[in-house]
Symmetry: C2
Subunit: 180 residues, 2 copies
């Protein structure tokens, strides 16, 4: 983020929120100590840059920092990939619920996707400036947007399948299925 124009810890945090947050977030409790560690390691340089009476610490990469960044960027060794999706977990233990309860979970999740999409579109609409000549970080948001659309569609399909099943069950004159 420093390399793309961010200067302060606060600044970095804002940039994360409008770009990578969806697949790589960070909190102040992580950012500030990390900046200090990087400075101690000689990968970034701190400079006092007060704004009026506000003390402000501006960071930038050192040549060593640039080098390490580029090494990381081109390292194709093992790369971390993980997800935690609690709502999905609940849906996959759907056997333990009635059809009605399960459908309600699926619907709630689809609506969450819808709301998250609105949020992302809102971020996308405010013209994001200060990113430098190219636009890759905006693409990060688009990845999130498109992935969220995929998720919404997946849940919408499930919803249709479940309502179709409910209709079949009703037609057959049986009561709604109960968990085993």
């Amino acid at each position: 983020m420093l390399r793309l124009g961010s200067r302060t810890g606060y600044d970095i945090k804002q940039k994360i929120e409008i770009s990578t947050r969806f697949f790589w977030g960070a909190s102040y409790g992580q950012i500030y100590p990390e900046l200090k560690r990087l400075a101690a390691a000689g990968l970034v340089e701190a400079a006092q840059d007060p704004r009026g009476g506000v003390k402000r610490t501006a960071y930038r990469l050192t040549p060593a920092g640039e080098r390490v960044l580029h090494e990381w960027l081109t390292d194709r060794g093992h790369q971390l990939f993980e997800m935690r999706d609690e709502a999905l977990l609940k849906i996959f233990f759907g056997d333990l619920l009635t059809d009605e309860e399960l459908l309600e979970n699926v619907r709630a999740r689809r609506e969450w996707c819808e709301r998250t999409l609105e949020l992302f579109r809102g971020i996308d609409d405010m013209a994001v400036t200060g990113w430098g000549p190219r636009e890759s970080p905006t693409e990060a948001l688009h990845y999130g947007l498109e992935l969220m659309e995929w998720m919404r569609d997946w849940y919408a399909r499930k919803e249709r399948e479940l309502t179709a099943r409910a209709r079949r069950v009703r037609r057959a004159g049986t009561t709604a299925r109960r968990p085993r």
Copy 2:
């Protein structure tokens, strides 16, 4: 997992690996202590169930455990959702790479998706038994499978875009773009 037929900590771990692992994993270092905590809280019951000379502890839900499980399953309050995708992060800092380096990253990621898909399909092909009358946990795997297909397609599209750009650049007689 206990509710779906798993009995030992080891058993739970295997089940996770072939079902929810993609969006909710767990290690032994988490499972065994957690089973003890649940037992202390009265939510599960432990019974010694030795297999020959091997000591083995089989767990099952208590009525209180069933209750708490159902409460969790139907609770539509805040539900955790997070991702960490290192490779994607590198691609979104692609501005700092040459077109060749970036393309290589995208290609490597697409191939990783391809390999992961093969892995998932392998798991899917072995008939998974011991899941009880319904099949929701298998659907977990299918969600992972379909999501991974979406990711593969996304990277494949990026790959095409980048190669098309490289061709245009070559036709225009300029050299490959360098990072700013």
